[in-house]
Every structure is written in structure tokens, then in C-alpha cells.
């Protein structure tokens, strides 16, 4: 009904909003408006005209919906602000779940709780300045390392790689990182060791690699023994036994983005033979 009509009309510019449920996994462009399921009937195209006049408006079911990256609230609708595929996550208990746009972006914008790889660019007093690829460097206190005290400073030099987590990240303030979890444990975070190779990929690829059941990681793991760190800011640090293997791994990850599953399997089988 209303949903089908909206999709058929391909409403890029006609000002008609499409139903969010109908375009899941499809491409959405900035400026599009999406209807949430509970408003589809009331506000869908044609719905307004055919709706019988009600004396008292029916009580609207208030459903909690979270707007992820690339979406904004616009009255009762969602306004798309980035180009990409629309995704939805069903809520655990009640509510409308989370909607977001999966885009192929390269620039990182700090988000609280994200694990990132940063490069120490300066030491100033009791903080380090860490470049994470965002619009300004993040600050990292020297006390935010496991076992660090005022007397026992961590051994961090300018140019070191840091794997840490954002505790403060909002648009108006300088982002702040830590290398400990809430229990004071390093939990894998801290200065990344010597050697290895750091390279950059798009943010979309990182998200794909960090998905719980990512094939690429499993296949790569079978190939060589390796150490690997993924930063949500699009940086990957990898280290294998030899430099040659490290370079091969880096090239695989960089190429993964533009390969289909079939092509990838072929490459992996060829590498496994050699």
C-alpha cells in the first residue's frame, strides 16, 4: 500500500518520504526523509487524504528510536545527511531499535568508547598529544596507563603508536583517550610494540573487519601467524614473522575492500599454496 507506492515513485526529489523499513540495506542520499514504521500509515503518500477525520487524534505510540551516524531527527521523520546504505538493528527489549547509514568515509570523527590507534605527536606537562586522524589531536594523560603513578611514569616517546579508547569525545571539546579500562587494567591497550606496519584503510572496511563473524580475519589467521590491531579510526597495525609476510598481509587488507568474496577466496587459496 503506502509503502509500495513510495518506493515505486523513487522519491528522490518529489518531497515524498519513503518508509525506513522499505529501504533497509538500500542506498539513501542526503536530503531524503524516511518515515518510521509507526507513522507510515498516517503520513505515507496518499494516507493523509484518505484518512477519515478524527475528532481526537489517536494517541501516538511513543517508540524510542535511536538515530545513528548519517541520520537526524526531523519532526517525526528521519533526515538522511550522509550517502550510504541504511542499516537497522532490532532492539533487545521493545522500542524501535537503531537506524544508521553505512557510508564509505575516510575521515574519522572521534566517538566515545571507540578503540583507536594514535601516534604520539607531543609531550606537554602531564599529557601526551595523540594524533588519531580526527580534526584535532586527542589528549592522553600519563596516569591513564596500567600501573602508572605520579612517580612511575610510563615509557612513551614521541612517535610511538598508542592503542587506546576515547573517554571524552564530543564535537565541542578536545577528545580524551585512556589506555586502561574502568577496572584500571590495560586490557590490551597501551603502547604498541616495535616493528610492525601501520597503514590506513577506509572506516567502512574496519567496521566490516571487526564484525563478529568476519571471514577475512579467519582466513588471514590460517595463512600466517600474526599480531594485528584494528583502530576504529581506519588504522591497522600488523606484524608477522618476516617483513615479507607483513607486507603481504597489509596488501591483502588494502585490496579486500574492492574484492568480491569469490575473488578473495581465490587469492587466499593461491597464497596458501605458495
Amino acid at each position: 500500500m503506502a509503502e509500495a507506492a513510495a518506493v515505486g515513485a523513487e522519491s528522490l526529489s518529489s518531497g515524498q518520504a519513503r518508509a525506513a523499513r522499505a529501504v533497509l540495506g538500500q542506498l539513501v542520499l542526503p536530503g531524503e526523509e524516511l518515515l518510521l514504521p509507526e507513522h507510515e500509515d498516517a503520513e505515507g503518500p496518499g494516507g493523509a487524504g484518505e484518512r477519515p477525520l478524527r475528532l481526537s487524534p489517536a494517541p501516538r505510540s511513543r517508540v524510542r528510536v535511536v538515530c545513528g551516524p548519517g541520520l537526524r531527527r526531523c519532526g517525526e521523520r528521519l533526515l538522511v545527511t550522509k550517502c550510504g546504505r541504511l542499516r537497522h538493528k532490532e532492539p533487545g527489549g521493545g522500542g524501535g531499535g537503531v537506524y544508521w547509514v553505512d557510508s564509505q568515509q575516510k575521515r574519522y570523527v572521534p566517538v566515545k568508547g571507540d578503540h583507536v590507534i594514535g601516534i604520539v605527536t607531543a609531550k606537554s606537562g602531564d599529557t601526551f598529544k595523540v594524533d588519531v586522524g580526527g580534526s584535532e589531536p586527542a589528549s592522553l594523560s600519563y596516569l591513564a596507563f596500567e600501573g602508572a603513578t605520579k612517580r612511575n611514569r610510563p615509557n612513551v616517546q614521541v612517535g610511538d603508536l598508542i592503542y587506546g579508547q576515547f573517554v571524552v569525545a564530543n564535537k565541542d571539546m578536545e577528545p580524551e583517550m585512556v589506555c586502561i579500562d574502568s577496572c584500571g587494567r590495560a586490557n590490551g591497550m597501551g603502547v604498541i610494540g616495535q616493528d610492525g606496519l601501520l597503514f590506513k584503510v577506509t572506516l567502512g572496511l574496519i567496521r566490516k573487519l571487526l564484525a563478529p563473524d568476519c571471514e577475512i580475519i579467519q582466513e588471514v589467521g590460517k595463512l600466517y601467524p600474526l599480531e594485528i590491531v584494528f583502530g576504529m579510526n581506519g588504522r591497522i597495525w600488523v606484524k608477522a614473522k618476516t617483513i615479507q609476510q607483513t607486507l603481504i598481509l597489509a596488501n591483502i587488507f588494502e585490496a579486500c575492500e574492492h574484492m568480491t568474496t569469490e575473488q578473495r577466496r581465490q587469492i587466499f587459496s593461491r597464497l596458501a599454496e605458495s
Binding site: L12, S13, G70, K82, Q104, K106
Partner: protein, 231 residues
């Protein structure tokens, strides 16, 4: 990644019976072709070609910092030589258009820089710059309220309307009008005109541009669809 569409417009119906040359030239667009910028696009309209790169939201100089929104900068490089007054004026027009659609308030104290390199100019250069800038901004993932496009109209001495004119048509024209339109309501974001025209002709050109913008936005969607079909 390259996408082509051939658009022979039906803008004629809206533009009135007098206009006969109401067709857009061959469009092509390629995105994410440069590795260093955060977003890039090359846009072709006939023989006119512009390459755009977008950096941002990136670090901003303290002198240019705006505390409640992003600093938007547009740099237009001519094919040969240094940018002059004409480029500066175009930069300003493009910047004002971008500012109208980019949601700068989401990234305060940052800079968004759009660099446009003219590869070849064969008419409707400003429109092509606007289209390239829009595609590069989309590629960079800069939050935007809507998409925008540029459409150039030329009126020749007989009052005939030509959409997306070539350099020769622009030179012979009595008036050249360029509009920037948004994708939500086809509202006018920017207009710049040169030459003599009547009020009725302006309205006629605007109507034709609005009709043509539908084709441009459809082309945008097709070309983005192809880009995202890869993943």
C-alpha cells in the same frame, strides 16, 4: 566506477515552445579516484571536466576558526596559471552554495576544504564545478541537508533557451544564467547571471533549470548506486 548516462531532456515541455535546444550534454562522474583527500570526484559535462577534492572535517587554523560551525573553504584552480579575480568570484558563489546545504554545526571548530581543479572548460564551467563539489562532498561523508546541482542556461539573440551550453553557445548568447538548486524542493540556492534578459525569461530559465535538475539528481543517484553496489 565510471558511470555514464545520456540525457536528452524533456525540459522542453516546461520551458515553452520557443526553446528547442533544451538538452543536457553527456554526463559522467567518477568518485573516490584520489587517495589523499577524504573525498574526491571528477565530473564531466560534455567536454567540460572538473576534478574536486574535499578535506574535512579537518584541523583549522586558529585565525579561521569559527566556534559554532565548520569553516568552509573553496579553492578553484584554473587550467593554466594562477587563480585570478574570476576564480575568486566563482569560489565565493560555490562556497555560499555549499554553506547552504552543509550541516557545519555538527563539526564546530573544524575546516572543510573543497579544492576544484578545472581540467577542461567547454562551457557551463560553474555548473560543472558545483556538480563536482557536490559529488566530492558526498564522497567525503560531510553531513548535508540536501544535495545540490548547478544548471546553466543561455538565451540567444532570438530568445531561444539553451540548457548546458557549450563555450561557443555561451559566447554567442545574449544572456547566460547559472542556478544552483537543492534536491529536496528544487529551491534556488544561488543564481548568477550575465547579460540582458526580461523577467519572464528569468522565470522561464529557472523553470527549465528546475526540470533539468531532476535529471542531474537522477544521474547522481545512479552513479552513487553503482559505487555502492561494489561493496
Amino acid at each position: 566506477m565510471e558511470t555514464d548516462t545520456h540525457i536528452r531532456a524533456d525540459a522542453r515541455a516546461e520551458a515553452g515552445p520557443r526553446s528547442l535546444g533544451c538538452s543536457l550534454r553527456h554526463f559522467a562522474c567518477e568518485q573516490n579516484l584520489l587517495s589523499r583527500p577524504d573525498g574526491s570526484a571528477s565530473f564531466l559535462q560534455g567536454d567540460t571536466s572538473v576534478l574536486a577534492g574535499v578535506y574535512g572535517p579537518a584541523e583549522v587554523k586558529v585565525s579561521k576558526e569559527i566556534f559554532n560551525k565548520a569553516t568552509l573553504e573553496v579553492l578553484l584552480r584554473p587550467k593554466i596559471g594562477l587563480p585570478g579575480v574570476a576564480e575568486k568570484s566563482r569560489e565565493r558563489l560555490i562556497r555560499n552554495t555549499c554553506e547552504a546545504v552543509v550541516l557545519g554545526a555538527l563539526h564546530p571548530r573544524t575546516s572543510i576544504t573543497v579544492v576544484l581543479q578545472v581540467v577542461s572548460d567547454a562551457g557551463s564551467l560553474l555548473a560543472c564545478c558545483l556538480n563536482a563539489a557536490c559529488m566530492a562532498l558526498v564522497d567525503a561523508g560531510v553531513p548535508m541537508r540536501a544535495l545540490f546541482c548547478g544548471v546553466t542556461c543561455a538565451l540567444d539573440s532570438d530568445g531561444n533557451l539553451v540548457l548546458d551550453p557549450t563555450l561557443k553557445q555561451e559566447k554567442e548568447a545574449r544572456a547566460v544564467l547559472t542556478f544552483a538548486l537543492d534536491s529536496v524542493e528544487q529551491k534556488l540556492l544561488m543564481s548568477t547571471t550575465k547579460g540582458l534578459y526580461s523577467n519572464a525569461e528569468l522565470q522561464q530559465c529557472l523553470a527549465a533549470a528546475q526540470a533539468a535538475s531532476q535529471h542531474v539528481f537522477r544521474f547522481y543517484r545512479e552513479s552513487l548506486q553503482r559505487r555502492y553496489s561494489k561493496s
